[in-house]
Symmetry: C2
Subunit: 137 residues, 2 copies
Amino acid sequence: MHNIRVTADTQTWSIADLAAEYDVTLRTIRFYEDRGLLTPERRGTVRVYHPRDRVRLGLILRGKRLGFSLDEIATIVNMYDAEPGEEGQLVYLLHQIATRRAELEQRRRDIEETLHELAEVERRCQADLDNLRQKTH
Amino acid sequence: MHNIRVTADTQTWSIADLAAEYDVTLRTIRFYEDRGLLTPERRGTVRVYHPRDRVRLGLILRGKRLGFSLDEIATIVNMYDAEPGEEGQLVYLLHQIATRRAELEQRRRDIEETLHELAEVERRCQADLDNLRQKTH
DNA sequence: CTTTACGTTTACGTAAGCGTCAACCACGAG
DNA sequence: CTCGTGGTTGACGCTTACGTAAACGTAAAG
């Protein structure tokens, strides 16, 4: 990274901004906060989202696409900004990482298999279709 | 094991057999049947599972690992043994396949990203740990 | 005959992940 | 002053994917 200093990253978003950007409802965003996944600033009663919150929302939604539960996602995203901490903590974190990695690699294998099989079904299907059109024309 | 015959095509399984093999509960298997995902033979009231059902159960569970809902899984596994059918059907099926493929490829990208980021976190974490152990020895 | 193992249906319970009101500010424009 | 826009907190509802009894059938073993 060559940009030692960037413009002070002071941008903020409203709840509606993030909802529109990520195509989720306000209810969803507030629900994630309720579950401790987001912690926006409050100006009065109003939520103000900082870059950190925005990134986390992205991570949460990616986790959802991967089929993780919100609880699992919580442990994952909290790993990202864990402070150095003590030895026990670090060892625990490394163990968590290994576990998640194993899960993800299993999922990747599942995806590869499924893609191959879908390709096979598609081939059959396309053959049937060609065959059908051959006859009628 | 209640396997009646072990010749390749004729083998059957009890509900408990499949539950043990795939590590799910009987309730789960019956629930999948209720949702139309499995259609075991009945001998009297008792369910008897054929190779086809066993394969489908495997597909269902793989679909779950990928984060698909049972409804989505239903459309996917039903694609596998669709009969040739008429043109409209085939076109529809091809469209479904394209959709699923796009989803899966998105998931694969998500996984790659997450794996890379986990590797990064792990690196940081390992560095902190090494640092800590350096100091105490 | 009773126990044990394995199966069945029916039905209520539950946790997750939101959807959907209702009722209430706050504020700038017309 | 009123209206529209955008925000807030409850609180109840709903679907999915099962868990968890309860109550019963059947067939072999002791």
